[in-house]
């Protein structure tokens, strides 16, 4: 896995391809990575470890086109088992409907600037449907403000149908602890923050403890996977690549690493709760996210959760998110490539007619794929252009 070593001005090495490369070589590096991802996607079974490595390593999943194919695989979501198109009944009588509707209505900032109101309204309706579908099909899950920030990122990248399936999988795995009846399990996850910081810098840990800043500054980072706080959509996508491929506690490690990278800034400031909270809440626009991802990955390897769990505060609670992660890892290791699945679902001439339900599934999948394509194209034109789509589109 490629990972730049940190060095340089304030936070370490700037993001980018291998050092000293020219534009041409950088492009070939991307092309090579895209090819490897393509090979991992088409091997049978899918090479899920290679996809995870690609999502974590430098540059992440490179483009929206690739994300649209890889993100579902990271969660073991098949394009042929998507939820049905939601009907109007989905909005009836759900206890969280008003809150969801209110939050989605106010989520304008999460849609691309300049998008016509009519188009955004359609996407907002789809966003509400996505969230309510998952909540309806899992009555044990509770909506929280910030869940919509995760859902919108999925919607804008993979479209409503795949997005719903992904959201459903995420909600029963990575996000499960946030969706309990109370936020106590969320607090438990945040309890890892200070011990991780302490492992790396006792001085910073003690300073923060003295300031009584607590961990609430990192709450929205954790439960929205930074979608709520970053204004740069590329940064959000890069982090989602990373988190989708990682352990549920990775956003907490990421928070710890972010604080560690700003250690000098924190220590120079006042040692009181408002000052530290305010400083940390304002993530600099030019923060080097590529370096952050790389170092967070290293931090997690060096200080795995099992090593921290010996501490009293972390010992007594069983996290469903963490417990279910291993089963997700296991189940996602035997996925078939999309083209194999489609061939299986597609009846050959002269063969017996497939069961009706399967046929319907195919239609739904096609509908979902076209809808995903539409939304993705709509949402990410700018970013796709920046990543050089002509080469990547040629590959897929």
């Amino acid at each position: 896995m490629r990972c730049p070593r940190g060095r340089g001005a304030q936070w370490g090495n700037a993001q980018g391809p291998p050092k000293g490369t020219t534009g041409g070589r950088a492009m070939s590096w991307r092309k090579q990575k895209a090819l490897q991802i393509h090979q991992a996607l088409t091997s049978d079974p899918i090479d899920i470890d290679a996809l995870r490595n690609a999502a974590v390593s430098e540059g992440g999943l490179l483009s929206q086109e690739i994300r649209r194919k890889v993100w579902p695989k990271l969660l073991n979501v098949s394009v042929l088992s998507l939820p049905p198109k939601p009907g109007p009944s989905i909005r009836c009588n759900h206890r969280d409907f008003n809150q969801v509707e209110m939050d989605v209505r106010r989520s304008l900032r999460r849609f691309p600037a300049g998008m016509p109101d009519a188009e955004r309204s359609v996407l907002q309706e789809q966003l509400t449907d996505m969230i309510l579908y998952v909540l309806q099909s899992h009555p044990e899950l509770n909506y929280y403000q910030g869940y919509h920030d995760i859902a919108v990122t999925l919607l804008l990248t993979v479209g409503p149908r795949l997005g719903t399936a992904m959201l459903s999988s995420l909600s029963t795995h990575h996000l499960r602890d946030f969706m309990e009846r109370t936020m106590d399990p969320t607090k438990h996850m945040l309890n890892y923050l200070m011990p991780v910081i302490r492992c790396e810098s006792v001085q910073l840990h003690d300073f923060m403890l003295r300031s009584e800043v607590g961990y609430i500054f990192a709450l929205s980072w954790l439960i929205t996977w930074y979608g709520h706080v970053l204004s740069n959509y590329h940064q959000v996508l890069r982090l989602y690549d990373f988190f989708l491929a990682s352990h549920p506690l990775m956003p907490v490690y990421c928070a710890a690493q972010m604080v560690l990278m700003r250690e000098q800034e924190v220590l120079r400031g006042d040692c009181d709760m408002p000052s530290v909270h305010q400083l940390l809440s304002n993530i600099p626009k030019d923060f080097p996210f590529e370096t952050l991802v790389c170092r967070t990955h290293g931090l997690f390897q060096r200080r795995p959760p099992a090593q921290l769990v010996t501490q009293a505060s972390l010992h007594k609670y069983k996290s469903v998110s963490i417990a279910s992660f291993h089963s997700l890892l296991h189940s996602s290791s035997s996925q078939r490539p999309d083209f194999v699945l489609r061939r299986q679902a597609d009846p050959e001439p002269g063969a017996l007619a497939p069961p009706r339900s399967q046929n319907r599934l195919v239609k739904l999948a096609v509908w979902g794929l076209s809808a995903s394509l539409g939304a993705a194209a709509l949402a990410v034109t700018q970013s796709a252009l920046e990543w050089g789509p002509e080469i990547l589109l040629g590959l897929f």
């Binding site: 209110m102 989520s107 900032r109 929280y144 109370t182 709450l219 959509y233």
Partner: protein, 228 residues
Amino acid sequence: MMSAGPSGDEVGLESSLEASITSTCSFGPSRARIFKIIVIGDSNVGKTCLTYRFCTSCFPERTEATIGVDFRERCVEIDGEKIKIQLWDTAGQERFRKSMVQHYYRNVHAVVFVYDITNMASFQSLPSWIEECKQHLLSNDVPRILVGNKCDLRDSIQVPTDLAQKFADSHSMPMFETSAKNTTDHVEAIFMTLAHKLKSHKSLILSQPPENTVQLNSGAKTTFPCWC
């Protein structure tokens, strides 16, 4: 791609929030007394808009749900004394207040309860907010005020002023109706009145020795007039 640029009085939340943070407290924090005020109430009653209006003098055209707690501050000068007013803008969803917001009640100097005058449910939630506040605050004499927001939406009023006033009286709180959207609706005056009240409060001494000689410009004990 996400934040709107400034346009007149309506500014993208993010861009002008930064401006407020860098520009507000030009006098050093060590010399100013600090008043910490927590703003609570149901989801979508306008807590973010109110605090934003006071700290930047602008109405944010696009606000989002607050996740956890947001922090805004503004430095003011009252009777020649420099004071830093810190507003803690909290999430409205019940699950946040149950387990997260309590952290922010620590060392709080005043509480602002907000409801939406066009939403009766937000008014009916106030007793539970007040009850929770009592549980979190160590002292009973922390000043509290009640603010009915969105009074620019006159056609949709659901909470009559006299009903709100009676409720406020029964809890010994001053009550205001206002609109964070209209520049004429005294958001500034509400928070400044609170700041005056805090300034006179003997128990609120932080970075300076007690000052017993300060004269108040506005009422310190009795209920305040409703300006709407």
